[in-house]
Amino acid sequence: MSYAYLFKYIIIGDTGVGKSCLLLQFTDKRFQPVHDLTIGVEFGARMITIDGKQIKLQIWDTAGQEAFRSITRSYYRGAAGALLVYDITRRDTFNHLTTWLEDARQHSNSNMVIMLIGNKSDLESRREVKKEEGEAFAREHGLIFMETSAKTAANVEEAFINTAKEIYEKIQEGVFDINNEANGIKIGPQHSPTNTSLPLSGSGSSQGGGCC
């Protein structure tokens, strides 16, 4: 299981919005309606490919309840990406986003890529938060946005992978100091820093070209 990079993610958001289910759908490709509530922090990992490179995602799924905040905060640090999740069928989970965002910004490194996720898009009939509202919030706070359904798996892959792409681009741009693990990025075991730096800059330009 060699990888070029390891990205550390954190999933945050109110309790019951489907954080653990998103993770399970992403790592195991299954939906488990009856899922133990998360106490503290749980984990998942999966390998993805970006730009021909193996990237390992190490995902920290946190408990949503306020009481666990002191514990989960300690996991913000050292995360390269965050999925901030709300439930489109519960307005209060959307209303709490600001608090979550403040918390995340305050305790994480400033370059952390944050993806806003409106989950449970399969429950259209019970929708309380319009998609536009989510988009607006994301725009306002400089986040990427997506609506997902952990149940149907709609957009779940994309949510995780797009976040990884964003991080990857930031690496190419030199925004992240990849040698500092506190940024939530780790270079794979077989890639020594000196080796990776050269091909990286090369692939960076090619990646940039691809995007355009």
Partner: protein, 721 residues
Amino acid sequence: DFNLTYYSRDVNSFVSLQNDWDLDAAYLSSSYPFLQIRMSMDKQIALPDWDIISLVDVIKAAQMVATQTHQTANTFFTRMEKIVTKAFTNKNRSYNNNSPLTKKQYNSYLNDEGRINSMRELRISVFRRGVEPNLRKVVWKHLLNVYPFGLSRQQRIDYIKAKSETYFKLRDIWKSHQNDSAVESIYYQVKKDVLRTDRTHHFFSGKGDDNKNVTSLLNILTTFALNHKVKYCQGMSDLASPLLYAMKDESHAYICFCALMKRLSENFRSDGEAISRKFQLLSQLVQYYDSEFFNYLKQNNAHELLFCYRWILLELKRDSIPPLVISDLLLVDKEYRFIPGESKQCNVLRGNFDSLLINSSSLETAYSDSQEEEKAANGKIYVNSSDASHHQENNELISLTFDLENSVKLKSFDQLLNNSSGHGSLTATLSSVNAEKTNGTQRSVGTIRFLPEILRNDFKVIDSSEADDYNKKYYFSPKFIDKQFSVDDEEKPQLKSFNSVGAVESVDSNNHNIESASEKSLSSSKTHAILFRQRSTQYKNRIKVEEFIDHCKSECVDKYIPTAESTYWRILRGLERSVSNESLKESDYAMRSANLIQEQEKSSDGYSSASTSENHFGLNGNKSFSSSCSSLILSSTGSIDDGVCSFKLRKTLPSLSELGSNDAFMLFLCLTLLLQHRETIIAKRMDANEIAMYFDGLVRKHNVNNVLEAARHLFHSYLSQ
């Protein structure tokens, strides 16, 4: 290259022990109260008669001998330890009846009216073996302290009935106000969680809230949250569900849950204070029991052990398979609650309990005749209860007093007598070095005992007659960096000072002494002498094994010095516990660890030679060992050989009161889990994230029985320290 002999009580001498038959014979004839085995090395190191030596030579030779003896003894010890551990583990297996408590056995704890005779005995029994599942309904209520003390069977039934009625009233109140916003918010909060609590268990299976047990759980938690200060918090449903499952009755489960939360609610407070204190304590335990692992964790920034959060919060309920039934275990540690409330004024000790270790078993080893022991007990010993700062400044002398009439008896105590490097001759790290005069011949004797406490033997005892030989000041320090021993024999031949400058375990303990006292139904531990007398009585009867550590606040001690003509002993935690007759009867879990006593004699002309080294291998109790042995292995990985290092670490072992008598065992369970996986973690070079993920992957995979067994041993060994 060594001989084994055992002390035969029939013939009053040591008899060779060469095969299993001998061992059997030894068990049968001479194992009460414990078996004494002596291991003597063949190798003799002696200076030729004609050799002319200077003082320098003496020092060198002595150092060499000490080192050699130490090493050899260590090797032997390790080997012996393995063998004995194995033997006794096997033996113990057949001895120990680990089957869960049955109805019949439970009834034996009740008197005619159904009153519990001894709550403590019941707890100990449950602690050892658990409870039959269908009996939990009954026994857990006792363990959870649901009932006031001393109720008869009928009274208990009435009590529960009344409580149940109260519950139903409380429940009806909020049910009739369900539209109230406060009720509603809590109700839905709880509902969201109970719908995802243990749903894979058949008892709670089903979809949504179509299972009546799920509804019961919801009712219990909502009623609780609405009627208590502590807010509802995730995790509570996990704790309540086993209670409901065991009780099979909503109101009973509610009553039990309230009782459980008395103990656990602090963990759910939003300030996180209680829980972070527990992290810290756990971290200290790891540091103490496995410094290597701790260092590894520290290097990887994982020593805060945040990944143990769920373990602590849910008391491992989720992490083991089958689910650890907390209530079987964790309530049990109340059994070790030695601290009755009233004893506060006694506010015992502060300071370093660890520094005062008097090992009664060594008495036994050296003197099989109890009369002699008694005499020894008349000796006077001053030991400094090391409140470091205190003594550093005041250079005060020791407080523990003990009358020594018979000089020779001294040797019986484990001693840690380390000559300074200045004119030092002995530098055995592990060992307690004792000056001994034996028949005018000079020799080193090592005593190996199964006592992890060896490393803490940092008090010393010297008798007056020897003082003549030691007509000068000795400083004992070299290996024990943080300790300084000084003995001044000139002024007060009988008064030895023991000066500890070291870092001292800061123990807030108002408790330990008192605990012990109360254990022995001495409600106040005003007189240590009483304790001592009790102890020594018992001691004569049976106990060889227990070591005595004194915990005393120095003030407390100082108070006693003036009246030092009598014997003041303070007894250590372990002893208190173990001395408790009941527990001893069942099995004395006296912990032994290697205890190396090196005795060296120096004649006044400065002529020193060590000729024979002998190791006494004191085996105590037939069954007592197994637990101690295995715990030894568990607990002292790498520490035995590394005297100095662990010696220092010992200091940081939190006291029982620090751990909290309620949480202590749970912390030891966590510790056990950590230690069980330390090899893997280190071998795979996991970083903090990986460790957390590793343990996350082990959810529901820990084998309860293994963990429990190991944790019990570890806890035993802790308590005996």
